[in-house]
Protein backbone atom coordinates (compact mmCIF):
# COMPACT_ATOMS: atom_id res chain seq x y z
CA UNK A 1 0.00 0.00 0.00
CA UNK A 2 1.18 3.51 -0.81
CA UNK A 3 1.06 4.75 2.74
CA UNK A 4 2.83 7.24 4.95
CA UNK A 5 4.96 4.43 6.37
CA UNK A 6 6.77 4.40 2.99
CA UNK A 7 9.07 7.20 4.05
CA UNK A 8 12.07 6.77 1.75
CA UNK A 9 12.88 10.03 -0.02
CA UNK A 10 10.61 12.30 1.99
CA UNK A 11 11.69 15.51 3.60
CA UNK A 12 10.09 17.74 6.18
CA UNK A 13 10.26 15.44 9.18
CA UNK A 14 12.75 17.67 10.93
CA UNK A 15 16.25 16.99 12.23
CA UNK A 16 17.33 13.56 13.45
CA UNK A 17 17.07 13.67 17.22
CA UNK A 18 20.01 11.72 18.59
CA UNK A 19 19.83 10.78 22.24
CA UNK A 20 23.05 9.57 23.79
CA UNK A 21 22.83 6.60 26.14
CA UNK A 22 19.13 6.03 25.79
CA UNK A 23 17.64 3.11 27.73
CA UNK A 24 16.65 -0.09 25.89
CA UNK A 25 13.02 0.71 26.65
CA UNK A 26 11.95 4.26 27.42
CA UNK A 27 9.22 3.03 29.78
CA UNK A 28 8.34 -0.32 31.29
CA UNK A 29 5.28 -0.74 29.07
CA UNK A 30 7.42 -0.55 25.93
CA UNK A 31 9.31 -3.64 27.04
CA UNK A 32 6.08 -5.55 27.64
CA UNK A 33 4.66 -4.57 24.25
CA UNK A 34 7.86 -5.63 22.54
CA UNK A 35 7.84 -8.99 24.30
CA UNK A 36 4.12 -9.61 23.79
CA UNK A 37 4.40 -8.92 20.06
CA UNK A 38 7.32 -11.31 19.68
CA UNK A 39 5.81 -14.06 21.78
CA UNK A 40 2.34 -13.89 20.18
CA UNK A 41 3.96 -14.05 16.79
CA UNK A 42 6.17 -16.99 17.69
CA UNK A 43 3.16 -18.84 19.10
CA UNK A 44 1.58 -18.52 15.66
CA UNK A 45 -1.18 -15.97 16.30
CA UNK A 46 -0.01 -13.99 13.27
CA UNK A 47 3.01 -13.69 11.03
CA UNK A 48 5.50 -10.84 10.59
CA UNK A 49 3.89 -9.65 7.37
CA UNK A 50 0.48 -9.48 9.00
CA UNK A 51 2.05 -7.45 11.78
CA UNK A 52 3.52 -4.98 9.30
CA UNK A 53 0.29 -4.81 7.30
CA UNK A 54 -1.59 -3.95 10.47
CA UNK A 55 0.86 -1.23 11.51
CA UNK A 56 0.67 0.26 8.03
CA UNK A 57 -3.13 0.22 8.28
CA UNK A 58 -3.11 2.90 10.98
CA UNK A 59 -4.59 6.26 10.05
CA UNK A 60 -1.70 8.27 8.53
CA UNK A 61 -1.81 11.19 10.99
CA UNK A 62 -1.93 8.73 13.87
CA UNK A 63 0.94 6.66 12.42
CA UNK A 64 3.15 9.73 12.23
CA UNK A 65 2.14 11.03 15.64
CA UNK A 66 2.55 7.76 17.51
CA UNK A 67 5.83 6.56 18.95
CA UNK A 68 7.26 3.31 17.63
CA UNK A 69 5.93 1.10 20.39
CA UNK A 70 2.58 2.89 20.44
CA UNK A 71 2.23 1.71 16.84
CA UNK A 72 3.10 -1.81 17.96
CA UNK A 73 0.54 -1.64 20.73
CA UNK A 74 -2.18 -0.43 18.40
CA UNK A 75 -1.36 -3.12 15.86
CA UNK A 76 -1.18 -5.85 18.48
CA UNK A 77 -4.59 -4.89 19.86
CA UNK A 78 -5.99 -5.01 16.36
CA UNK A 79 -4.38 -8.35 15.51
CA UNK A 80 -5.65 -9.94 18.72
CA UNK A 81 -9.13 -8.75 17.83
CA UNK A 82 -8.80 -9.89 14.22
CA UNK A 83 -7.67 -13.33 15.41
CA UNK A 84 -10.22 -13.65 18.18
CA UNK A 85 -11.37 -16.98 16.76
CA UNK A 86 -7.85 -18.40 16.99
CA UNK A 87 -7.82 -21.73 18.79
CA UNK A 88 -4.18 -22.71 18.76
CA UNK A 89 -1.20 -23.20 16.54
CA UNK A 90 -1.84 -25.11 13.36
CA UNK A 91 0.74 -26.46 10.97
CA UNK A 92 1.37 -23.70 8.41
CA UNK A 93 -0.37 -24.26 5.09
CA UNK A 94 1.83 -25.86 2.46
CA UNK A 95 4.02 -23.71 0.29
CA UNK A 96 2.40 -22.47 -2.89
CA UNK A 97 5.22 -23.98 -4.93
CA UNK A 98 8.50 -25.79 -4.61
CA UNK A 99 11.64 -23.80 -3.87
CA UNK A 100 12.04 -21.77 -7.02
CA UNK A 101 15.27 -21.31 -8.91
CA UNK A 102 16.40 -17.67 -9.18
CA UNK A 103 15.66 -16.09 -12.55
CA UNK A 104 18.32 -13.42 -12.16
CA UNK A 105 21.97 -13.62 -11.25
CA UNK A 106 24.52 -11.24 -9.85
CA UNK A 107 25.26 -8.35 -12.24
CA UNK A 108 21.97 -8.73 -14.11
CA UNK A 109 20.25 -5.46 -14.90
CA UNK A 110 16.72 -5.43 -13.57
CA UNK A 111 13.94 -2.91 -13.29
CA UNK A 112 11.64 -2.62 -10.28
CA UNK A 113 8.05 -2.80 -11.40
CA UNK A 114 5.92 0.28 -11.21
CA UNK A 115 3.18 -1.18 -9.01
CA UNK A 116 0.74 0.46 -6.64
CA UNK A 117 -1.09 -2.43 -5.00
CA UNK A 118 -3.96 -1.95 -2.59
CA UNK A 119 -2.41 -4.43 -0.20
CA UNK A 120 0.88 -4.80 1.64
CA UNK A 121 4.13 -4.74 -0.30
CA UNK A 122 7.82 -4.40 0.50
CA UNK A 123 8.72 -2.61 -2.71
CA UNK A 124 9.33 1.00 -1.59
CA UNK A 125 7.72 3.65 -3.72
CA UNK A 126 10.97 5.49 -4.41
CA UNK A 127 12.38 2.46 -6.25
CA UNK A 128 9.41 1.75 -8.50
CA UNK A 129 10.12 1.91 -12.19
CA UNK A 130 13.83 2.35 -11.49
CA UNK A 131 16.63 0.28 -12.97
CA UNK A 132 19.34 -1.34 -10.92
CA UNK A 133 21.86 -4.15 -10.86
CA UNK A 134 21.58 -7.41 -8.93
CA UNK A 135 24.25 -7.41 -6.26
CA UNK A 136 23.30 -10.43 -4.13
CA UNK A 137 20.93 -13.36 -4.52
CA UNK A 138 19.19 -14.81 -1.47
CA UNK A 139 16.26 -16.77 -0.31
CA UNK A 140 13.83 -18.01 -1.02
CA UNK A 141 11.60 -16.07 1.31
CA UNK A 142 7.80 -15.93 1.42
CA UNK A 143 6.29 -13.17 -0.69
CA UNK A 144 4.96 -10.61 1.82
CA UNK A 145 2.28 -9.33 -0.55
CA UNK A 146 0.43 -12.64 -0.16
CA UNK A 147 1.54 -13.71 3.30
CA UNK A 148 0.43 -10.42 4.86
CA UNK A 149 -3.13 -11.10 3.81
CA UNK A 150 -3.27 -14.85 4.44
CA UNK A 151 -3.39 -15.36 0.68
CA UNK A 152 -0.73 -18.03 0.44
CA UNK A 153 2.84 -18.96 1.23
CA UNK A 154 4.76 -18.38 -1.95
CA UNK A 155 8.53 -18.68 -1.68
CA UNK A 156 10.52 -16.46 -4.00
CA UNK A 157 14.15 -15.57 -4.45
CA UNK A 158 15.09 -12.20 -3.01
CA UNK A 159 17.68 -9.99 -4.65
CA UNK A 160 19.71 -7.16 -3.26
CA UNK A 161 19.46 -4.67 -6.10
CA UNK A 162 21.70 -1.66 -6.25
CA UNK A 163 20.32 1.59 -7.64
CA UNK A 164 22.49 4.61 -8.29
CA UNK A 165 21.53 7.83 -6.62
CA UNK A 166 21.08 9.46 -10.02
CA UNK A 167 18.67 6.73 -11.10
CA UNK A 168 16.60 7.14 -7.95
CA UNK A 169 16.72 10.89 -7.47
CA UNK A 170 17.48 12.21 -10.95
CA UNK A 171 18.67 15.82 -10.91
CA UNK A 172 19.17 15.60 -7.16
CA UNK A 173 21.10 12.35 -7.25
CA UNK A 174 24.82 12.39 -6.57
CA UNK A 175 27.68 10.52 -8.12
CA UNK A 176 29.29 8.06 -5.73
CA UNK A 177 26.08 7.33 -3.84
CA UNK A 178 23.82 4.32 -4.23
CA UNK A 179 21.09 2.49 -2.39
CA UNK A 180 20.73 -1.28 -2.34
CA UNK A 181 17.27 -2.68 -1.65
CA UNK A 182 16.17 -6.25 -0.96
CA UNK A 183 13.47 -7.09 -3.47
CA UNK A 184 11.41 -10.19 -4.12
CA UNK A 185 11.61 -11.65 -7.60
CA UNK A 186 8.07 -10.69 -8.60
CA UNK A 187 8.92 -7.05 -7.90
CA UNK A 188 11.42 -7.15 -10.74
CA UNK A 189 11.50 -7.44 -14.49
CA UNK A 190 14.62 -8.29 -16.43
CA UNK A 191 16.15 -5.98 -18.97
CA UNK A 192 17.95 -7.31 -21.98
CA UNK A 193 21.45 -6.27 -21.04
CA UNK A 194 23.91 -7.19 -18.34
CA UNK A 195 26.46 -4.81 -16.92
Amino acid sequence: MNGVHDLGGQRGHGPILIEKHEPVFQTAWEGRVYALMGLARRRGLFNLDEMRRTIEGMAPAEYLRASYYERWLTALEKLVEEKSGWTGPEPPPPLARAEPLPRFKVRDKVRARNRHPRGHTRLPRYARGKQGVVELVHGPFLLPDLNAHGLGRRPEPVYTVRFTSQELWGDDGRAGESTSIDLWESYLVGTRFRT
Partner: protein
Protein backbone atom coordinates in the same frame (compact mmCIF):
# COMPACT_ATOMS: atom_id res chain seq x y z
CA UNK B 1 0.13 0.33 41.56
CA UNK B 2 -3.62 0.75 41.62
CA UNK B 3 -5.53 0.82 38.37
CA UNK B 4 -6.22 4.52 38.87
CA UNK B 5 -2.52 5.29 38.82
CA UNK B 6 -2.04 3.80 35.39
CA UNK B 7 -1.85 6.04 32.40
CA UNK B 8 -4.20 5.17 29.56
CA UNK B 9 -1.48 3.50 27.58
CA UNK B 10 -0.27 1.43 30.52
CA UNK B 11 -3.83 0.31 31.09
CA UNK B 12 -4.10 -0.79 27.45
CA UNK B 13 -0.87 -2.78 27.74
CA UNK B 14 -2.01 -4.39 30.97
CA UNK B 15 -5.35 -5.35 29.40
CA UNK B 16 -3.61 -6.81 26.38
CA UNK B 17 -1.17 -8.83 28.46
CA UNK B 18 -4.02 -10.16 30.61
CA UNK B 19 -5.95 -11.19 27.53
CA UNK B 20 -2.98 -12.99 25.98
CA UNK B 21 -2.24 -14.73 29.28
CA UNK B 22 -5.89 -15.77 29.56
CA UNK B 23 -5.78 -17.20 26.06
CA UNK B 24 -2.80 -19.24 27.17
CA UNK B 25 -0.57 -17.68 24.51
CA UNK B 26 1.98 -16.21 26.88
CA UNK B 27 2.83 -16.12 30.56
CA UNK B 28 3.91 -12.96 32.33
CA UNK B 29 7.13 -14.71 33.29
CA UNK B 30 7.98 -15.17 29.62
CA UNK B 31 7.36 -11.48 29.05
CA UNK B 32 9.62 -10.67 32.00
CA UNK B 33 12.30 -12.91 30.52
CA UNK B 34 12.22 -11.26 27.10
CA UNK B 35 12.44 -7.80 28.67
CA UNK B 36 15.30 -8.97 30.87
CA UNK B 37 17.21 -10.47 27.94
CA UNK B 38 17.03 -7.26 25.92
CA UNK B 39 17.88 -5.09 28.90
CA UNK B 40 20.86 -7.22 29.93
CA UNK B 41 22.05 -9.83 27.43
CA UNK B 42 21.35 -8.71 23.89
CA UNK B 43 23.07 -5.50 22.94
CA UNK B 44 25.74 -3.91 20.76
CA UNK B 45 28.47 -5.71 22.71
CA UNK B 46 27.62 -8.79 20.68
CA UNK B 47 28.22 -6.93 17.45
CA UNK B 48 31.40 -5.38 18.83
CA UNK B 49 32.73 -8.88 19.53
CA UNK B 50 31.95 -9.92 15.98
CA UNK B 51 33.77 -6.87 14.63
CA UNK B 52 36.79 -7.24 16.91
CA UNK B 53 37.07 -10.90 15.94
CA UNK B 54 36.94 -9.98 12.26
CA UNK B 55 39.65 -7.36 12.81
CA UNK B 56 41.97 -9.86 14.46
CA UNK B 57 41.15 -13.07 12.62
CA UNK B 58 41.33 -12.71 8.81
CA UNK B 59 39.82 -16.15 8.21
CA UNK B 60 36.86 -15.37 10.45
CA UNK B 61 36.41 -12.12 8.57
CA UNK B 62 36.36 -14.01 5.30
CA UNK B 63 33.69 -16.38 6.61
CA UNK B 64 31.75 -13.44 8.08
CA UNK B 65 31.59 -11.60 4.77
CA UNK B 66 30.71 -14.79 2.90
CA UNK B 67 27.95 -15.96 5.27
CA UNK B 68 27.25 -13.69 8.20
CA UNK B 69 24.69 -15.96 9.86
CA UNK B 70 26.99 -18.97 9.90
CA UNK B 71 29.99 -16.96 11.09
CA UNK B 72 28.26 -15.39 14.08
CA UNK B 73 26.88 -18.80 15.03
CA UNK B 74 30.53 -19.66 15.79
CA UNK B 75 30.34 -16.98 18.50
CA UNK B 76 27.13 -18.49 19.84
CA UNK B 77 24.77 -15.95 18.25
CA UNK B 78 21.69 -17.57 16.72
CA UNK B 79 19.27 -15.77 14.40
CA UNK B 80 16.19 -17.77 13.56
CA UNK B 81 14.46 -16.89 10.26
CA UNK B 82 16.79 -14.03 9.40
CA UNK B 83 20.03 -13.74 7.50
CA UNK B 84 22.92 -11.55 8.45
CA UNK B 85 24.72 -9.72 5.70
CA UNK B 86 27.94 -8.04 6.76
CA UNK B 87 29.07 -5.09 4.65
CA UNK B 88 32.62 -3.86 5.00
CA UNK B 89 33.82 -0.27 5.08
CA UNK B 90 36.93 0.09 2.96
CA UNK B 91 39.24 2.94 2.10
CA UNK B 92 36.98 5.06 -0.11
CA UNK B 93 33.77 3.16 0.69
CA UNK B 94 31.33 3.79 3.49
CA UNK B 95 28.19 1.75 4.28
CA UNK B 96 25.03 2.99 5.95
CA UNK B 97 22.02 0.90 7.01
CA UNK B 98 18.39 2.00 7.12
CA UNK B 99 14.93 0.51 6.84
CA UNK B 100 12.66 3.01 5.12
CA UNK B 101 9.46 0.96 5.38
CA UNK B 102 9.58 0.09 9.09
CA UNK B 103 12.70 -0.29 11.22
CA UNK B 104 14.36 -3.62 10.40
CA UNK B 105 17.55 -3.88 12.40
CA UNK B 106 20.05 -6.62 13.28
CA UNK B 107 18.79 -6.83 16.87
CA UNK B 108 20.53 -10.15 17.46
CA UNK B 109 23.92 -8.44 17.26
CA UNK B 110 23.04 -4.84 18.20
CA UNK B 111 20.11 -5.11 20.59
CA UNK B 112 17.03 -3.02 19.93
CA UNK B 113 17.37 0.00 17.66
CA UNK B 114 17.71 3.51 19.07
CA UNK B 115 14.78 5.88 18.75
CA UNK B 116 16.43 7.88 15.96
CA UNK B 117 16.82 4.76 13.80
CA UNK B 118 13.06 4.20 13.99
CA UNK B 119 12.20 7.86 13.44
CA UNK B 120 10.75 9.44 10.32
CA UNK B 121 13.66 11.91 9.87
CA UNK B 122 16.23 9.11 9.58
CA UNK B 123 14.07 6.69 7.60
CA UNK B 124 13.05 9.35 5.09
CA UNK B 125 16.39 10.98 4.36
CA UNK B 126 19.05 8.28 4.68
CA UNK B 127 18.38 7.06 1.13
CA UNK B 128 17.96 10.52 -0.41
CA UNK B 129 20.84 12.44 1.13
CA UNK B 130 23.08 10.08 3.10
CA UNK B 131 25.95 12.55 3.34
CA UNK B 132 23.73 15.21 4.90
CA UNK B 133 22.44 12.58 7.33
CA UNK B 134 25.98 11.49 8.20
CA UNK B 135 26.94 15.10 8.86
CA UNK B 136 24.15 15.32 11.45
CA UNK B 137 25.92 12.45 13.20
CA UNK B 138 29.22 14.29 13.01
CA UNK B 139 30.60 12.07 10.25
CA UNK B 140 32.16 14.07 7.43
CA UNK B 141 33.38 11.86 4.62
CA UNK B 142 35.77 12.95 1.89
CA UNK B 143 33.92 13.84 -1.31
CA UNK B 144 35.75 10.97 -3.02
CA UNK B 145 34.39 8.35 -0.62
CA UNK B 146 31.61 6.28 -2.10
CA UNK B 147 28.51 5.93 0.08
CA UNK B 148 26.44 2.76 -0.11
CA UNK B 149 23.10 2.78 1.64
CA UNK B 150 21.38 -0.52 2.43
CA UNK B 151 17.60 -0.31 2.70
CA UNK B 152 16.75 -3.45 4.54
CA UNK B 153 13.32 -4.28 3.19
CA UNK B 154 13.29 -8.09 3.39
CA UNK B 155 14.65 -10.77 5.74
CA UNK B 156 18.26 -9.72 5.46
CA UNK B 157 19.77 -7.76 8.30
CA UNK B 158 22.80 -5.63 7.66
CA UNK B 159 25.77 -5.09 9.94
CA UNK B 160 28.48 -2.65 8.95
CA UNK B 161 32.01 -3.91 9.53
CA UNK B 162 33.87 -0.66 10.20
CA UNK B 163 37.46 -0.22 9.10
CA UNK B 164 39.89 -0.90 11.91
CA UNK B 165 41.19 2.51 12.93
CA UNK B 166 44.88 3.34 12.72
CA UNK B 167 46.61 3.42 16.07
CA UNK B 168 45.19 0.08 17.19
CA UNK B 169 48.00 -2.08 15.95
CA UNK B 170 48.80 -4.83 18.41
CA UNK B 171 45.65 -4.28 20.50
CA UNK B 172 43.99 -7.37 21.91
CA UNK B 173 40.55 -8.45 20.78
CA UNK B 174 39.16 -7.36 24.15
CA UNK B 175 40.72 -3.88 23.82
CA UNK B 176 39.27 -3.55 20.32
CA UNK B 177 35.78 -4.54 21.49
CA UNK B 178 35.76 -1.42 23.67
CA UNK B 179 36.07 0.99 20.74
CA UNK B 180 33.37 -0.53 18.52
CA UNK B 181 30.23 1.36 19.34
CA UNK B 182 26.75 0.66 18.07
CA UNK B 183 26.55 3.53 15.61
CA UNK B 184 29.73 2.45 13.85
CA UNK B 185 27.99 -0.84 13.05
CA UNK B 186 24.95 0.98 11.62
CA UNK B 187 27.24 3.27 9.66
CA UNK B 188 26.41 6.54 11.41
CA UNK B 189 29.76 6.71 13.22
CA UNK B 190 33.37 5.71 12.80
CA UNK B 191 35.21 3.90 15.59
CA UNK B 192 37.21 6.37 17.65
CA UNK B 193 40.52 5.66 19.33
CA UNK B 194 40.45 7.52 22.65
CA UNK B 195 43.45 9.85 23.09
CA UNK B 196 44.33 8.49 26.48
CA UNK B 197 44.95 4.94 25.34
CA UNK B 198 47.00 5.88 22.31
CA UNK B 199 50.60 5.16 23.32
Amino acid sequence: MSHDDLSEIEARVLALESLLVEKGLVTSEEVDQVVYRFEHDIGPLLGARVVARAWTDPKFKQRLLADGSAAIAELGIAIPDLHLEVVENLAGLHNLVVCTLCSCYPWFVLGLPPVWYKSAPYRSRAVLEPRAVLREFGVELPESTEVKVWDSSADLRYLVLPARPPGTEGWTEEELVAIVDRDSMIGTALPQVPDKVVP
